[in-house]
Symmetry: C2
Subunit: 303 residues, 2 copies
């Protein structure tokens, strides 16, 4: 029997913790709501309870815990820039958790975790140069260069949703305007639909209208594909990647945007690089992040 | 006496070859026009003559030769995408040159070479995460991640001039439109000046008009700074770099664009990443590429 680890996907709404073995099998999964205004100490206690549940359910010991956090993680393990869990700003949660559980803790930005998961067991297995873009409430990104995650100087790399596609475009929560997040996230699709007079509450409903042949829905996806294509073309010219993995809730509308998206990338990026960059869907979906956290825990060295 | 190498900066107009020692001292420099329509064999013969000149002028032997080429260099040393020297498309010039000179040959994209030079002896000494953007006839880029050059899957990474800043903007030589190269290269500044009724033949002349307080020149540099700032903000959000080095002929107009440029980046990028990314001028100027080629030759391993 190989090693097992704990893996956490910490979101603004829910915390999920899984016991995962060394081939990526999820042995047990626990989900709790993220307590509003949670402090580092309260979160550590919550992790302790969830870990105990994983332990008793699986009768396994865990060699490490990996935690994907919606934050920039500095190289020394400090969390910054958590708009959804601001009470953890500046926290060094790794040492608290390690003390509590008695095992090494690895922290990773959640989008990077998802990319690590896809690289381990998903769409990007064996691919060294590639990136993932996640079309959810916002747009996130995880980048691999030469087989390693690109984290940047302060753990702030990969914010691919905040690349400008319209200089004077829609205001963005980040303080800029015209970010691709305002044109291609699930949230943006709903807003764009409303602006076009369509009454939908999710990108899935908009996709249903597209499937039913609704022309307005088609034009919204065309616009989304155009803006996302502009961004991906720039990233293709920047990274010359082998693969682009698209995930997040809006990626379920794949059929509605992939053709115009691929055409936009092809028309804008250098042809050799555009041809090289295979655009594919996430293979792991919502599990990418927790599996990536498990992978980080499995490959960490005890201090 | 330490090792010495040959270093080549191959351009569409000129070839420069230098004998360089292991601390970056240029011992001898030879310059020749690039023969129009040059074949790989002719270029190899030319390198042979230039190498002989370096050898007799310095009485040194060389352990390797590094060549910066205006091309994508694949990992196996094949040149692709050379709009300025199309007769070298598909050439494997490394083996020809190694045979001719009897020493190992290292090929590198010229913008990456310039970044390697700045990392060795210039503005980015000791900096692991940073990129260089070169505002010349076109706009080029060289990227470092975790202390290593980012080359991409086919050597096509770093084409930072071909990031879109105006979706329906000016047509670009690359086939797209609205690329930042059309708004912030030296060439673009001259075009934008002409469109605004200013008669200048270079970015230097436009800078002279700015220095003289010409309002139209100021507005052109403001527009250039805005477009370049949009691009750099996206790259800051993507890479979270410690430094951005700006080079190329138009960087001589530094005073005319740096303040509005820095303001645009600050207003658009995430504040922690924007604060981290120090924007500086190239320290090596036109020598960055040849020194980078020397560095590549010095650090290569004989096969």
């Amino acid at each position: 029997m190989g090693d097992a680890v704990l893996a956490v996907d910490l979101g603004g709404t829910n915390v999920r913790m899984a016991a995962v073995d060394d081939v990526g099998e999820v042995l047990h999964l626990v989900r709790r709501p993220t307590p509003p205004g949670v402090t580092p100490e309260q979160l550590t206690d919550l992790f302790g309870e969830m870990a105990e549940e994983c332990r008793s359910a699986t009768s396994r010991e865990f060699i490490a815990i990996g935690i994907g956090v919606p934050a920039n993680v500095t190289s020394s393990g400090v969390l910054h820039h958590l708009p959804n869990i601001p009470t953890l700003e500046g926290a060094e949660i790794g040492s608290l958790v390690s003390l509590k559980l008695g095992i090494p803790t690895v922290l990773e930005n959640d989008a990077t975790s998802a990319a690590i998961g896809e690289h381990w067991l998903g769409a990007a297995k064996g691919i060294d140069n590639w990136f993932m873009i996640t079309l959810g409430t916002g747009i996130g990104g995880g980048i691999f260069v030469n087989g390693e995650p690109l984290r940047g100087q302060d753990g702030g790399a990969g914010k691919l949703g905040h690349i400008c596609v319209e200089p004077d475009g829609h205001p963005c929560g980040c303080g800029s305007h015209g970010c691709v997040e305002q044109y291609a996230s699930a949230t943006a699709l709903v807003r764009l639909a409303a602006e076009a007079g369509l009454d939908v509450t999710s990108s899935h409903e908009l996709f249903d209208k597209w499937t039913a042949g609704e022309a307005t829905a088609e034009s919204i996806f065309d616009g989304m594909a155009r803006h996302l294509g502009i961004t991906l073309a720039g990233l293709v010219n920047t990274f010359n990647p082998e693969m682009i993995v698209i995930g997040g809730g809006a990626s379920a509308a794949w059929d509605a945007f992939i053709d115009p998206l691929a055409a936009e990338v092809k028309s804008r990026a250098f042809s050799e690089s555009a041809t090289r960059a295979k655009i594919v869907r996430t293979a792991l979906g919502d599990d990418a992040g927790i599996l990536g956290a498990a992978r980080s825990a499995l490959t960490t060295k005890a201090p």
